[in-house]
């Protein structure tokens, strides 16, 4: 039994390791092919990551990616592809920022209100895709992507000064108004390094909650079963339609939360400059992390590192785009390597079980004991 366990660990890690090594090698090749020193930019990035302010940026970005990736991962475990995390994240950030700026409540309540509105908005938006899927069989891939486009127009319309937006005097930016300080989430001051968003720790805590719900609750079991085999899950008593809708709602709520670190800890408003693209990077993060809360954490860290440590590459003459190339290669490498490792792992286990049984290693059964 011990032998098979160690095997499982190696096979579990083989996928991501293989993907990362491949991406790294391919990125180096791309750099060399374009006539640039392949190792120097990597060295510069590692050096840049040694500074406290870059580290703060990395930690904060990890929290953001982590939340968004959890949102994606819940869907993935149900074989649902919530490509709409980016739209849900933006809409939720905007609506919750509007509500947050419109009221002033005692601290914890103010923050709680903003968070709840964000979760509700995100859940609502992805719920639309969920309902379309369960009532009409519409692929959630298609509907969530379209909802992303609708989000862009909807947000642009809502933020017009004649609607809900505010154009601060002298500024060319559009915002949702400043949230009063009671709605600011306290962070950890790292001195010269900046401030670690307090919500980053909320994100980590949610990772623990995610692990518990998925692995230790009845609901989580049903969810995983539906993802592994919808027919077996249905035969076992799962209401597939309810499950799909619930999973989409939870995914949307988590997506809504991923805007909270920046909204509550940094900008305190939603403006035209609010970071975008988080939802799409999160898909790769979740894939690389194999939908596992610890795997996603490391994956989020890696992507945050790639994002932030490359910030000053251009000053040394290297294109920042190499990190995007690497992130893109990781997507493909992950999908291919996981499939390869999965098939290999399955074959190997069947082999090993056959061998062990032949060698007489089965658990002692009553029949044998009796004999």
């Amino acid at each position: 039994m011990m032998k098979i366990d160690k095997d499982k660990l190696i096979i579990g890690a083989a996928g991501p390791v293989l993907a990362l090594v491949t991406s790294f090698v391919l990125t180096v090749l791309v750099l060399a092919a374009s006539g640039l020193d392949p190792i120097e930019p990597i060295r510069l990035m590692i050096e840049n990551a040694g500074y406290s302010d870059v580290q703060v940026l990395i930690v904060n970005q990890t929290g953001i990616y982590y939340l968004a990736a959890l949102a994606v991962a819940i869907g993935f475990r149900m074989n649902l592809f919530n490509i709409g995390v980016d739209g849900q994240y933006r809409l939720a950030a905007m609506v919750s920022a509007l509500v947050g700026a419109a009221v002033e409540l005692p601290g914890p309540l103010h923050i709680l209100l903003i968070v709840l509105v964000a979760m509700a908005t995100g859940a609502f938006w992805s719920g639309i895709a969920g309902i379309l899927k369960t009532t009409r069989g519409v692929s959630e891939v298609v509907s969530t992507i379209m909802l992303n486009a609708i989000t862009t127009s909807l947000v642009a319309w809502l933020i017009l000064p004649k609607n809900f937006g505010v154009q601060p005097p002298g500024s060319n930016d559009l915002t949702t108004g400043q949230i009063a300080e009671s709605g600011w989430f306290p962070g950890i001051d790292m001195g010269e390094g900046g401030q670690i968003y307090g919500f980053t720790f909320v994100a980590l805590a949610l990772g623990v909650v995610y692990w518990f719900v998925i692995n230790r609750t009845r609901f989580g079991f049903d969810l995983r079963a539906t993802g592994e085999s919808e027919s077996a899950a249905q035969a076992s008593g799962v209401d597939a339609k309810k499950m799909i809708l619930t999973a989409m709602l939870i995914s949307g709520a988590l997506a809504g939360l991923s805007g909270m670190p920046i909204l509550l800890g940094e900008s305190h408003t939603y403006s035209l400059a609010f970071p975008v693209g988080v939802g799409f990077t999160a898909i790769t993060v979740a894939l690389l992390g194999r939908n596992h809360p610890v795997g996603i954490l490391f994956s989020a860290l890696l992507f945050a590192f790639l994002d932030k440590a490359s910030s000053n590459l251009d000053v040394s003459g290297y294109p920042k785009e190499i990190t995007q190339i690497m992130q893109g290669i990781i997507v493909i490498a992950v999908v291919v390597s996981y499939e390869l490792v999965r098939r290999y792992g399955l074959r190997r286990q069947q082999q090993k079980v056959g061998e062990e049984l032949a060698a007489g290693g089965a658990i002692k059964t009553d029949k044998e004991v009796a004999a």
């Binding site: 990362l20 790294f24 840049n48 990551a49 040694g50 500074y51 406290s52 302010d53 870059v54 580290q55 703060v56 940026l57 990395i58 930690v59 904060n60 990890t62 933006r90 862009t152 947000v155 642009a156 000064p161 154009q167 601060p168 005097p169 002298g170 500024s171 060319n172 930016d173 559009l174 790292m190 010269e192 390094g193 900046g194 670690i196 920046i262 940094e266 900008s267 035209l272 400059a273 609010f274 970071p275 975008v276 693209g277 988080v278 990077t281 954490l297 490391f298 994956s299 860290l301 890696l302 590192f305 994002d307 932030k308 490359s310 910030s311 000053n312 251009d314 000053v315 920042k320 995007q324």
Partner: protein, 343 residues
Amino acid sequence: MGIATAALALSATACGKSSNDTGSSSTSGSKATKVAIAYDIGGRGDQSFNDAAYAGLKKAEDELGVKGSEAEPSQGESDADKVARLTSLARAGNNPVIGVGFSYAPAIAKVAKSFPKTTFGLIDDTSVTAPNIANLVFNEEQGSYLAGVAAAKTSKSGTVGFIGGVEVPLIKKFEAGFTQGVKDTNPKAKVLTQYLTQPPNFDGFSKPDLGKAAAQGQIDKGADVIYAAAGLAGSGSIEAAATAKKWAIGVDSDQYNQAGLSSYKDYILTSVTKNVSGSVFNLIKSVKDGKPESGEIRYGLATDGVGLADSNPAYKKMTDVIAAVDAAKKNIVDGKITVKTAP
């Protein structure tokens, strides 16, 4: 790599030195003065806004002997990233540090406080101010008004087109001025307005194919003069107009003289120039001369901060158009016409 980074982050965050500790905060005058510009979305090479800023930097390098640095924005970055970028530029001893674009406003507000001896330039925003911030702003609506006058007088079909890159308040200034200029000159003229993308999708400033398709659509609807305020995407509009043998009006720099657009230059009637390069150069010079600019520095028609280029010989021959434009310019400078900044 993930594990190594995790270890790095967890162990070193509290005790690592800041990236800003490296490099000297030089105040000596014996070495060449260092200046820096941080670009807006799209970075250098947009044939327009960012390139104009670079032109100012280059002129300062050539004429004033300063040493320039440039920094590009990252994908999906937040204010914190901008703060880090500006901080490291300031720490490296650059003075002035110029943020090209209104999205730098919150970041400059923070960083300017930490570096009171450094001058910060902020283009297109006056909402954040400080003794060491110079807000370089332009009256784009005035220049656009003149373009509207030129367009209305040149158009034979009575229909002209406006293409905005991204629907943000800044570009709406261009639209407002242009439309007003057209209507004041020919009340019966029609102005077709289209924005290429909505924020946060800023592709409308960088994708020429979007500009080309939009211009084509307007030409199909009868427009024979097209004014594109869309950064790099505008070059697509210019291409479409030239191919259909219609007029195009450029923006930000004198696009008649841009190498990348030379095949279409004959159809570039004029350009609404926004003297971004001049503003950058002036700021750098003021710092070098020891009298740094501060507060709102407005570049309007009166100071030739904005205007219509007249490089195209075909345009120079249109004396009646030029007369109308000059008259309008005088009226604006004299205060007889107030140009709207929002449609």
